[in-house]
Symmetry: C2
């Protein structure tokens, strides 16, 4: 049994009964799934039956940290939040950093499984071994910052860390998120699952320190990791200084920063307003997650003009796209305001912005009119309209109620071929990378178990000059199946299970990621993991998640793109003329399924399942 790293305890909350009980963390689970997303998705697969509606009380909401969280290992204050997603119907998994994950670990839990549904708005507070349920009726409708403050005040200790939903989660908007401080488990509508359970928040305060089984080895592994970080050509000083917006200009130069609902990718006119220089000017300080030496999170503040006073921890690269370039807005103060408002309402910046960008295109095409928009002039670039539409999404007002369902469902309702340019895969709105000019990104969007999710297998090799596991041509089709598998598996285990911050993998550790994780976890836990076992855990996770999705009816037909990407080439810029045709996609999928040991429909073969020790239900 593990002697450190893990707390060894799972907390199971039944909201219907307002009860809490502890379970021992099974050693088998640790060996096969390591932690974080691994733990949570394994339990989701075992405990949530196929066909369970995502907003039904039989869905479960699971928070899981990992063996490195709060150990002092760099960049390890991460948690996975998992449930069946109301936006996609597939596995919903999102990660969040900040302080909450470390606090949860220090309270003594590796995982919290939340079941049932409270009769009335509720929150619960964990103080080490003690769990208290409390009414959240007075918090109903409250924005997330105020919610956190009121809970801390009520508990009489502002050092609690709180993860909560905003008004959107309470209204079970399918793109609602879960916010802790200024960080979010943003995507796939996990905030709606929390809202459907009448759970407004979780407060946690922990005073314990996870033990380390082999302190010397752990120190060595940490040093190796920190050395790799220091030697990274991009992590310092650039990434620490600018954060993710560092790459906006580069993406624009490469012609793959998506603009105006992906109709105008390749234009460079957004850079002066949204690019690195504009972003740098608004930075007032940077924020560090717990145990993070980098602090990539840039805090920006608007100090003049109509959005004066708005502060956000961001906007990140992705949010600059979703609340900026894809809605045609190049006025950064508006993006900052919109970013903050999304955090306060508790809605995912990517899905919300992409849905609004799509509605703007419909409005410009005349498919939506001022009658549909409640008088808003919803044209590209109208930031005031964008901001008001965010509010309507959060509060389910008029057109906002439709857009909040996500572009997939909204397009089904509106019809008229609008689904062809509803920028989503499996119901999850697309991140910023125009995959027509970055094919492994494309294959990853198409096959990620959560839908179009850059974080499940980010092809950094197409963006940075990193030769690991191989040097790639971003426009090539061949080889992208193998690359995507590697990215998805390695990322799953290091970033989603350990879990450590994804940016490390992309920018500092690609070639040592699995060995480093093996060394750290082995030293912390006193168990023994090889690099190969570690990588296989990542593969196992991608397979069990696939099994869950197959149970929900997903298959090869869903591993695809909106028609626009397969038929409309990029019109200008460095990726001009590029698209991913059906043939390209098929070629990539065939290779991908093949290296994964999946059949032609993307179903894991019996041999693969056996190899991974997996059983279908």
């Amino acid at each position: 049994m593990f002697r450190g790293g893990y707390t060894g305890k799972i907390l199971r909350i039944d909201l219907s009964k307002q009860s809490a009980r502890e379970e021992a963390l099974p050693e088998e689970l640790v060996k096969n799934y390591l932690g974080g997303a691994g733990f949570a998705i394994k339990y989701l697969y075992d405990e949530v039956k196929p066909g369970t509606p995502a907003l039904d009380k039989a869905n479960k909401l699971i928070f899981a940290v990992g063996p490195l969280t709060a150990t002092g290992a760099s960049c390890s204050s991460r948690m996975a939040v998992v449930a069946k997603s109301p936006l996609t119907g597939a596995v919903g998994m999102a990660l969040a950093g900040g302080q909450f994950p470390a606090e949860m670990k220090r309270a003594g839990y590796d995982m919290i499984i939340i079941e049932g549904r409270a009769e009335k708005p509720t929150y619960f507070a964990i103080k080490d071994d003690e769990v208290r349920f409390r009414s959240a009726e007075k918090l109903s409708g409250m924005m997330t910052t105020d919610t956190q403050l009121f809970i801390k005040e009520e508990l009489g200790d502002h050092n609690y860390r709180v993860a909560c939903i905003g008004p959107a989660g309470e209204k079970v908007v399918p793109m609602a998120c879960i916010v802790n401080e200024r960080r979010a488990a943003g995507r796939k509508g996990l905030g709606a699952v929390m809202g459907s359970k009448n759970l407004k928040a979780i407060a946690v305060r922990g005073t314990k320190r996870p033990s380390i089984a082999d302190a010397d080895s752990f120190k060595k592994a940490r040093q190796a990791m920190n050395k790799a970080m220091k030697e990274s050509p991009v992590l310092y000083p650039e990434f620490a200084k600018a954060g993710t917006p560092m790459i906006i200009d580069a993406m624009t130069e490469m012609g793959i920063y998506s603009i105006k609902n992906w109709s105008a990718t390749g234009q460079i006119n957004m850079v002066p307003g949204l690019g690195r220089e504009a972003q740098d000017e608004m930075i007032i300080t940077r924020a560090h997650c717990h145990d993070c030496p980098v602090g990539c999170s840039q805090v920006k503040l608007v100090t003049s003009g109509p959005y004066s006073g708005y502060l956000s921890e961001g906007p990140e690269f992705e949010t600059t796209y979703s609340l900026g370039s894809t809605v045609g807005v190049d006025y950064l103060p508006a993006v900052i305001a919109a970013d903050r408002l999304c955090d306060e309402y508790g809605i995912d910046t990517i899905s919300a912005g992409v849905a609004i960008g799509w509605a703007m295109e419909l409005y410009e095409k005349g498919i939506l009119t001022r009658k549909d928009t409640d008088g808003l002039d919803l044209k590209f670039g109208n930031h005031a309209a964008m901001i008001e539409m965010l509010r309507k999404i959060a509060y389910q007002e008029e057109l906002g109620a439709l857009l909040g369902q996500g572009t997939k469902k909204a397009a089904e309702k509106i019809g008229q071929g609008t689904g062809d340019y509803a920028m989503q895969v499996k119901g999850l709105e697309l991140p910023a990378y125009d995959v027509r000019g970055a094919k492994a990104h494309g294959l990853n969007y198409a096959t990620s178990y959560t839908g179009a999710d850059h974080n499940r297998g980010y092809a950094f090799q197409e963006i940075f000059d990193v030769p690991h596991p191989e040097k790639v041509d971003r426009l090539a089709i061949k080889g992208k199946g193998r690359l995507t598998k590697w990215n998805q598996d390695v990322r799953s285990v290091t970033c989603d299970c350990a879990p450590m911050c994804a940016f490390l993998l992309d920018m500092a550790l690609p070639d040592i990621a699995c060995q480093n994780t093996a060394d750290l976890v082995s030293a912390a836990s006193g168990m023994s993991f090889t690099a190969g076992e570690i990588q296989q855990i990542g593969e196992r996770l991608n397979n069990i998640a696939r099994l869950f999705n197959i149970g929900e009816g997903f298959g090869r037909k869903d591993d695809t793109f909106p028609k626009r990407l397969m038929t409309e080439p990029i019109k200008e810029g460095a990726s001009k003329g590029q698209l991913i045709s059906q043939k390209d996609l098929d070629e990539m999928l065939d290779e991908y399924y093949s290296v994964r040991g999946w059949d032609k429909n993307g179903t894991p073969t019996a041999a693969k399942l056996k190899e991974l020790g997996l059983k279908t239900h």
Copy 2:
């Protein structure tokens, strides 16, 4: 020497030198000034020379609590904040409640005197005996809620309590305030003084408990006080349930709730939108200051419409006037949003709203045009324009830069007789009570040492059916001099020096206030105060404040009203036809000066000074 109640220590901060030193609290000071405003104004008088510009580094900013703060005496977590006011040029004194005052006391200080000016934006943190100075450069321009959160995070302990300024204070807007949590030392521009010193915030964390010299006597005095509170005909359940908006309907019925820059007092059309019933509907919970059993502070939240998500601890009665009735706005969600924004920007709700109401009247009269308002349609009732104008005041943009100077200076600049209906006394904008129909309120506005300030001698006898010290007719002129002196002296000592919450005096303790304060303070401190000595401390405070103001050139000529109140009778409602003529005012002033022992110009006589043990410089 006192054995309890007081900490016995003054903390003197020199921002220029970034130094902190402790001084012993002089026993003489305690005997003559008790605490709170008494302490602070005595030091202001002694240490800030006549003619010192309010925004000069020679001005001092003083925070003072009292002998009852954090002792467990009900409603005693109050502090006085004092400086020469940039808005009036007179004594600036404002009180705030919440948690900060108790925390400051528990850190071990009765008073903090802040001198000089930091070279760069700074804050300081007090943890019991330790004082640390820190850069606040990264906090520049930050709203007050974010400021508090960032400071707590930086200090590594969210249980610090923080008093801070917002963007308006940094820009030394003369109506800027100081905010701790959702409470403010709101009036007279003390936030600008703080900003002029480059002091963004004070963080404090105290772990001590003030001792009590005679626990048995203290317990008895507390019980007497709590009994009087319980027996109050209005405190429970009404005031605890509705807070200050309780009286909006009654004020409207009495025809003295001021509307549209005091041009439409007596109208009842605002009640459905702003009155008790509308307010009650928005309440989600109530907030308690430290050691307060009442919790009058009603937290309200907007859950639909364009201001969805805005939460404020309020709006109080006064703010409902300044950001509601006097700007012709009867849409409560807009008032709540405006209230919150004022707290975030750090501007006084009363001065800001009254200034905007006045600008609206100028706009409707054609004296201001859209050219002056940067295109805003600044007519009464336009809440969106009001909210945008608040931002312009905070950020000193265009017309906002002028209005932020206060209506007195703005009227001097605009001319055209606009000063006749600039609703201010000594530069401080008028609170809600239309004094034409409540004469003692009028005399108090005219003579309060801080300008038109309802809190320095509130004539509750004209509002509630309270016969102490005598039954009064609100429309009578005669007797109001004597009444005003009593109100100002008793309130000064109990609410401003002790300091205890003003609502107790108004609603529960008027007939036992001085005796109760004497009993509590004597028991806590181990010193001996009689009720008469206590009341005399209040009188002494009003005299030394008057001396300070005389040094600044104030006299009888300044104890007056805007011309509107003396020449335009109230047009409709229960106070129709009422005004306070120059003759009325003179009669009241003569009586007031006479009972005060002041000469015809309002200067304390040598005999009075001798009686009070005061010396002029």
